[in-house]
């Protein structure tokens, strides 16, 4: 018992540091061997990580930060200008004096700028009249009548919001009603409520004769800025014409378009700020964080902007991204919660700092967490930090790439599979530490390192030879299939998922194909079973026709009646020798509606016969009034071999027939070979017994050929199940493919449908679900077939 604990302890030692247990076993070379793998593992993990070098999420933002040198230059330039007589900026001076002890860093500049701009752009309600007059006179902006949140809350609470853009309905009596949705967004029910009296509610029927009024947001003022009006247009059959102007404060005061007074009104520049009114004045609400709002420049920010412009004009060292990045950093400084969110999102320990293996495992589990984000907010600083004068384009958005799930999944799989190899060595290392110790203690067997490795080399010949193939197989076959398998359980579809995030969704996609009833979205459930049924029918018939067609032909060619067998065989084997993809493409055109077959049939007079029978020359509606069943409808002007949208089974049958051309020669040649190989004496014996030709065929040829060819039948069946080429190159899945049929045409089989879903429509997850189903079907057929072979039982 006591001895056992030592063995286990050694195994644990090896489990912590690879090779440590071997050191205790006094097998130093072996220890080194295992430790080398440990070193490689740790080396890869650390070497590919940022554990040591550190990471900043700002690396993800395009552009380069302004460096210390640049800031020093700026500060000395500022000092020189002050010396030359420019009025000093007091707040900057005091901030600078506080921070200049070491060096005035770029971060400190950003910090100050953020503070400065924020202080200069406080939220406030300004009297619109004063603002406009001040703008015209270019006067200062802070006025005592401004209402500041936090100081004048009482006054602010009495303000009423004004919506300058809305539609209303006016009764002949002049009452206005606005439209209101009582229902939900998906199931709306509208009523019309009197603007002045909430209890006066009308229905859609009541307002039929009402005028439809549109306020477009244009604001007018009178000459002395005492009154503001909103323009009202009347909508008559989609044509808008001016009607009147409504006073914002008192809507009953209206100036009609034709009044003389209307001429005294002048339109004011569009106000991007939200509008409010009290009993006496109209207010605008200045909020740089609101929609369309922008921060105002300060004296300092103006000076800095000018410095940027001058500097850039001379040195041209900065790109538009650099300025955008600077603005973003200032904006972050002004809005700590945005900054915090940014740093939290784009500084993910596993994604950004961890090494190859840790990141890989994290990737598979989470599929990434950070979405792509557009920082349009930098545009809010376009007035405060105004570098438009440089002439370069000024960026209004700074997009930051988030995690791309598909890439993370791939990398995750690669690293996990690689890790698997290390895990095998790891387990071997632990097992070896235990075993060696045990053997030595109990049996006093001690294998020297050299002997061990020599023996290992001899017994691992197989593995060494297999290594390259195994390696290629792991990363070229297994890894992609694993990836394909896994995305069936994700929400990976569409363009945005190509470059962004998707998530694990469990069996949701699988449930979708059993969902028949839903009319919302793409009907994968309904279409899947239709396509699946056709795929099975296709696989059965295309295999059977080619197999028995080839058999029949082999019998005919090998019949005693036919001399020059080689000639006939060579001739008939041609379709097999011509590359299938080329014959498929030729057939697509051969049977084109205006192609050669139709032209030939027309010249032959077959068209006239078909028209007489009513199978041709009628539209589908005319045809259906006749007595023939739909399967006989061939087309209107021409026979639509592959494009008939009304008669899918006709197209499908044609396809199976065309496939015979492509497929029978292979079986013919194969069975000819088998027949030639049948022992002649069997036939001679049958002759002696007086068997006739058909008996010989039934009792000798047929069973022997079937015995040899049957396994191929199964293989061909699964081959046809996935016969992409015939469908894709001949009909491209048509006819009738579109959104309503989940992009599957009448002749689409699963594999061609999946191809369309993947390549054209980007429904990767659904395509993957179908892949798995195909695998289950084909795989179980193959496994069943294989399990009966001799080879399997032998191995």
């Amino acid at each position: 018992m006591k001895g056992k604990i030592i063995h286990i302890l050694k195994a644990i030692a090896s489990g912590i540091i690879w090779g440590l247990g071997q050191v205790f076993n006094r097998q130093y070379w072996k220890a080194l061997f295992f430790f080398a793998f440990f070193g490689i593992l740790v080396g890869i993990e650390v070497g590919t990580s940022r554990y040591l070098s550190g990471y900043s999420p700002y690396e993800k933002v395009p552009g380069v930060d302004f460096n210390q040198n640049f800031i020093n230059r700026f500060v000395s330039s500022y000092k020189a200008d002050c010396f030359d007589g420019m009025p000093a900026i007091a707040s900057f001076d005091s901030f600078y004096n506080e921070h200049k002890d070491n060096e005035f860093t770029p971060e400190e500049l950003i910090q100050y700028l953020a503070m400065d701009i924020k202080a200069g752009s406080k939220n406030k309600y300004y009297v619109l009249a004063e603002e406009l007059q001040a703008l015209e006179a270019n006067k200062g902006k802070d006025r005592p009548s401004d209402l500041v949140p936090g100081e004048d809350d009482l006054a602010i609470s009495s303000l009423t919001g004004f919506n300058p853009i809305f539609t209303s309905y006016q009764s002949p009596a002049g009452d206005e009603y606005y439209k209101y949705n009582q229902g939900t967004a998906t199931d709306p029910s509208f009523v019309y409520i009197n603007v002045k009296d909430e209890n006066d509610i009308l229905t859609a029927n009541d307002i039929i004769n009402f005028d439809q009024l549109e306020r477009t947001g244009n604001i007018y003022r009178n000459n002395d800025y005492t009154k503001f009006y909103v323009e009202v247009l009347v909508n008559k059959n989609g044509v808008l014409s001016p009607l009147r102007y409504d006073n914002i404060i008192n809507t009953t005061e209206r100036i009609m378009k034709d009044d003389g007074e209307a001429a005294n009104l002048s339109k004011i520049a569009k106000v991007s700020d939200a509008l409010f009114y009290s009993e006496t004045s109209v207010y605008g609400f200045f909020n740089p964080e609101g929609r369309g709002g922008k921060y105002r420049s300060t004296v300092f920010s103006k000076y800095l902007s000018q410095y940027f412009v001058d500097f850039q004009k001379v040195y041209k060292t900065n790109t538009p991204e650099d300025f955008a990045k600077f603005k973003l950093r200032v904006y972050f400084e002004m809005n700590p919660e945005v900054k915090q969110n940014f740093e939290k999102t784009y500084d993910n320990f596993f994604n950004d700092r961890a090494g190859f293996f840790l990141k890989g495992i994290w990737s598979i589990i989470t599929l990434g967490t950070a979405p792509k984000n557009d920082y349009y907010q930098i545009d809010k600083l376009s007035k405060a930090i105004d570098v438009a004068d440089i002439g370069d384009s000024v960026l209004t958005n700074l997009p930051i790439q988030g995690h791309i799930s598909s890439y993370l999944l791939i990398r995750g799989l690669i690293s996990t599979l690689l890790l698997l190899y290390f895990v095998i060595i790891y387990l071997w290392n632990i097992h070896d530490a235990y075993k060696t110790s045990y053997e030595y203690a109990n049996n006093h067997v001690f294998v020297k390192d050299r002997e061990y490795f020599k023996k290992m080399y001899e017994s691992s010949f197989e593995y060494i030879v297999l290594m390259p193939a195994l390696f290629v197989l792991t990363f070229i076959s297994i890894m992609p299939i694993l990836f394909g398998f896994l995305i069936a359980f994700t929400s990976y579809n569409g363009n945005s998922a190509d470059v962004g995030l998707f998530d694990w969704v469990g069996f949701k996609n699988f449930v979708l194909i059993f969902n028949f009833g839903s009319n919302v979205g793409i009907p994968f459930g309904r279409i899947f079973w239709r396509v699946f049924l056709w795929t099975v029918i296709w696989a059965i018939f295309s295999t059977a026709t080619c197999f028995f067609g080839g058999f029949f032909q082999a019998v005919i060619i090998n019949s005693e009646r036919v001399p020059l067998k080689k000639f006939w065989r060579t001739l008939l084997i041609l379709p097999w020798a011509v590359p299938a993809i080329i014959s498929q493409m030729v057939f697509a055109n051969f049977f084109n509606e205006s192609g050669v077959v139709n032209a030939f049939l027309q010249r032959l007079g077959v068209y006239d016969i078909l028209k007489n029978w009513g199978m041709l020359g009628q539209t589908i509606d005319e045809f259906l009034t006749g007595s023939l069943p739909k399967i006989f409808y061939l087309g209107n002007e021409n026979i639509q071999w592959f494009t008939n949208p009304h008669n899918p089974w006709f197209v499908r049958i044609v396809l199976i027939l065309v496939n015979i051309w492509l497929g029978f020669p292979y079986f013919m040649a194969l069975m000819t070979g088998i027949m030639v190989g049948i022992d002649r004496t069997l036939y001679e014996a049958a002759d002696i017994d007086g068997a006739n030709r058909s008996q010989k065929f039934k009792l000798i040829t047929f069973p022997l050929v079937m015995y040899s060819a049957a396994p191929l039948l199964v293989m061909t069946f699964s081959g046809n199940f996935n016969n992409f080429g015939v469908i894709y190159f001949i009909t491209q899945g048509g006819a009738n493919n579109g959104y309503n049929t989940a992009f599957a045409g009448d002749t689409d089989i699963l594999i061609s449908w999946m191809y369309t879903l993947t390549v054209n429509e980007k429904y990767y997850n659904m395509a993957s679900v179908f892949s798995i189903l195909i695998f289950l079907i084909v795989g179980s057929i193959a496994a069943w077939n294989y399990s009966r072979t001799r080879a399997f039982k032998e191995d």
Partner: protein, 351 residues
């Protein structure tokens, strides 16, 4: 005479012609000559069959022995047999004739006759001057050669090990490979796209080789393994007794004996890229390629691009290109047909 009757007449004449040929051959054989030569003689109209009948018998012919060939039933059966053969031959040949004819046709759209009335080389000129056919050919042949070389290199040793040795994980390995084969080939398509993108391999034709080589391992492994298992194990054992190691047994005994199956694998590896459309179309077609994307295409994409449009104006050019591609492959297949079919069956039946 209406076209319909004309065709019927030609058909009837051909059936009768081949029937008399067969009768001539049988008569000739009955008289003790080679049946094959009889058939050749009878190919000469009228004179041939007379020659066969008048040839002196060099083998005793039973009285009435020749008569059996003239029974109504026998002649009817022959007519029926050749009726079927000639009809089928026509069906087989017409699309091929149409392809050849189209490549010489002087029309702007789809040719509507099986053989053009006006012949021209213009389509071939157009193929080489107006399309990137040379690039496609070059790319495809690059992939094909690389695929052949590396495909064989990677697979042979592995197949040898699987065929000859018992080792831990063998059964698991074989079953894994079998399972992998059952997955639809393009299940990994998206993964491969992402993988290629990660390593900057998109739009590089040679890089496809990696996928072809990896993808072919499962099938070829089974194929070669099946073949190698037929080679008697006694050979190995006696060599082992003579002191040969595993490597020597492989290189001196197994490798020379498996030349036939290896050449089959080599040929099929060489053939695969010519006609594969799915992979190259996805991996050699990404829209943000800086150069002319057509220059990285393979033949399959290029040829299909000429006919996938709505107007069929390029069909004749396509036909010219298709013929140039198909001709060597077809001849190769015809020449090695028996060999190739044996190869396919070997893997399947002996597995």
């Amino acid at each position: 005479m209406p076209l319909f009757l004309k065709i019927l007449l030609i058909y009837f004449v051909l059936v009768v012609y081949f029937t008399q040929d067969a009768i001539g051959a049988e008569v000739y054989e009955k008289k003790g000559y080679s049946r094959y030569r009889g058939a050749l003689w009878s190919l000469i109209p009228i004179y041939g069959i007379i020659h066969c009948f008048r040839a002196p018998a060099i083998k005793a012919v039973q009285k009435g022995g020749l008569k059996q060939f003239f029974s109504v039933k026998e002649i009817f059966m022959k007519l029926l047999t050749f009726g079927e053969l000639i009809l089928l031959a026509a069906i087989v040949i017409v699309p091929i004739v149409y392809l050849v004819g189209s490549s010489f046709a002087k029309t702007s759209g789809l040719p509507t006759t099986f053989w053009p009335s006006k012949m021209t080389w213009d389509n071939y000129k157009k193929l080489f001057t107006e399309t990137k056919f040379w690039y496609w050919y070059k790319n495809t042949i690059t992939i094909a050669v690389l695929n052949m070389v590396f495909g064989v290199l990677f697979i042979t040793g592995a197949a040898y090990v699987f065929a000859r040795f018992k080792f831990k994980g063998k059964k698991v390995g074989l079953i894994t490979i079998l399972v992998l084969q059952a997955f639809p080939s393009f299940m990994g398509l998206i993964a491969m796209f992402t993988l290629f993108d990660t390593f900057g391999l998109l739009n590089k034709p040679w890089a496809l080789t990696i996928l072809y080589v990896g993808g072919a391992i499962p099938f070829n492994l089974w194929l070669i393994k099946g073949y190698l298992q037929q080679i008697p194990k006694d050979l190995d054992e006696s060599a082992m007794l003579d002191g040969a190691n595993k490597w020597q047994i492989f290189s001196k005994i197994i490798l020379p004996l498996s030349v036939p199956i290896l050449s089959f694998v080599a040929v099929s590896q060489f053939m695969a890229p010519w006609m594969d459309y799915m992979l190259p179309n996805y991996l050699l077609n990404s829209p943000d390629y800086s150069g002319d994307i057509q220059e990285v295409w393979t033949l399959a994409i290029g040829l299909f691009s000429m006919i996938s449009g709505q107007d069929k104006a390029n069909y004749t050019t396509f036909a010219a290109g298709a013929l140039i591609v198909a001709l060597p492959i077809t001849l190769l297949y015809m020449a090695f047909q028996r060999f190739l079919i044996q190869g396919i069956t070997a893997g399947a039946t002996k597995g």
